[in-house]
């Protein structure tokens, strides 16, 4: 379901840029943001949580958000998708809160706050029938979930109590920004941007990726995805500090895609050989071919964002096409690897 969401969302995005695509995707032009953020990334992250918790009822979270995506494709009554996404958020909140009760530490709290963002954003969308307000919450959900997981892994390193305090501070700044954005987009954007920029620097400084990049194979690949992603999170954060969240802002496209493609998608690519086997019950052996979509993704984001800076539409379009090609390449590499995994078994 997430896969269908991704493909429909990509075509909707391309169409918005005036690139000719099959007309069947035309219904998603206006919805591209809602679709990619909630139906695709939201479902993927919910699925990842469900796999971790391995309880049947938690799988309702990705199922409901997948159905939300489906409702968008089928152009159901306007409140259906947001209602389904809200229910997904409620399930995820309960699941995350249970983990927090089991282990009352900063990273489980971060995951719970991430889930709260998911639920709140979707609720706002349901109440206002306006997805724009839910975007900062969606970003919060994705970034905080990833940052929380990375914080957990820093436990492999010698403890740095100060680092945890800085993390908590940056988390608060980001949250203040997200909540403020519902009332004042400009001020919210500045705070959220500052928080995200800080979190990027924190991750670059304290994540195990700087140690694990010296390893080989899959471990090095994951570390490469992470470090490249942190770079984009930093840039996206800076752009949001420049009020890029405001509708019609010049750098809005650049900021959103730096974070959602540069950071979140990079993370999805890096962890696909780890998470997808558990989700799809198939083996995905790692191969260096995974670098192909990764490099394509990052080069095309560079083009797209440079195009945004120079206000050069053709460059932005080439970048966006490259983004789509990168994601399709990623799907192709996964399918190829699944096949070769079966060959060996």
């Amino acid at each position: 379901m997430a896969m269908i969401a991704m493909i429909v969302g990509i075509f909707g995005g391309l169409m918005r840029l005036g690139i000719s695509t099959p007309t069947v995707f035309s219904s998603q032009v206006g919805n591209h943001g809602a679709f990619m953020l909630s139906a695709f990334f939201g479902t993927v992250i919910c699925l990842e949580r469900a796999v971790a918790l391995n309880k049947p009822w938690v799988y309702l979270a990705p199922l409901l958000s997948g159905l939300g995506g489906l409702a968008m494709i089928l152009q159901s009554p306007i409140e259906w998708p947001s209602a389904l996404f809200t229910c997904s958020g409620i399930i995820l909140c309960i699941a995350s809160f249970k983990i927090y009760l089991q282990q009352r530490v900063l990273y489980t709290l971060t995951l719970f706050i991430g889930a709260l963002c998911w639920m709140s954003g979707n609720t706002l969308w349901l109440l206002t029938e306006y997805h724009l307000l839910a975007i900062p919450y969606g970003i919060g959900f994705l970034v905080l979930t990833i940052a929380g997981e990375r914080l957990e892994l820093t436990r492999f390193l010698p403890p740095k109590p100060k680092a945890n305090k800085i993390f908590a501070f940056l988390l608060s700044v980001t949250l203040i920004g997200i909540v403020t954005s519902s009332m004042r987009t400009d001020a919210g954007s500045v705070f959220m941007g500052a928080g995200l920029t800080g979190l990027a620097l924190w991750l670059i400084q304290f994540d195990i990726a700087r140690t694990t990049i010296r390893k080989s194979g899959l471990t090095r690949f994951v570390a490469t995805c992470l470090l490249l992603g942190y770079g984009w999170l930093f840039i996206g954060g800076l752009l949001f500090m420049n009020k890029a969240l405001e509708p019609g802002a010049l750098f809005r496209d650049a900021a959103l895609h730096a974070i959602l493609l540069g950071f979140v998608m990079s993370m999805v690519i890096g962890h696909a050989p780890i998470i997808f086997p558990a989700v799809m019950r198939v083996k995905i052996p790692y191969s260096s071919a995974f670098y192909l979509p990764l490099v394509t993704l990052h080069v095309s984001i560079c083009l797209r964002i440079t195009g945004g800076f120079l206000d050069n539409v053709p460059l932005r379009v080439i970048g966006a096409e490259g983004n789509a090609i990168a994601i399709l390449l990623f799907v192709a590499v996964i399918l190829y690897q699944v096949k070769s995994g079966y060959g060996k078994a």
Partner: protein
């Protein structure tokens, strides 16, 4: 006989790498206990956190590593526990050194 098998099992698990850390599951302290009854093997292990989605992957890798190295072992049961919770002090000296402790 059992002692031998036990050694072989431990060294087998040393080949199962946690892809995120780049270090094997034994050095990371994720393996709590191995019990052998006749030709059945029971492994009690943990993850660094209950929110970690890597469990299935590692369990599969462990089962595969054992069935390849020790074809006589007919049944491998890997049980995931979070009691006690994993703690960095469970890492081996080698792993700790690797991460700069």
């Amino acid at each position: 006989m059992n002692d031998n098998l036990m050694d072989e099992l431990w060294s087998c698990l040393c080949n199962v790498i946690d892809p995120e850390a780049g270090i094997n599951v034994v050095e990371l302290g994720l393996i709590y206990k191995i019990t052998v009854t006749k030709y059945d093997v029971h492994i009690l292990m943990t993850m660094t956190s209950a929110a970690c989605p890597m469990g299935d992957l590692l369990i599969n890798d462990i089962e595969q590593a054992i069935s390849q190295a020790l074809p006589d072992v007919t049944t491998v049961n890997v049980e995931l526990t979070f009691n006690p919770l994993w703690d960095p002090s469970m890492m081996s000296e080698t792993a700790r050194k690797h991460f700069g402790w």
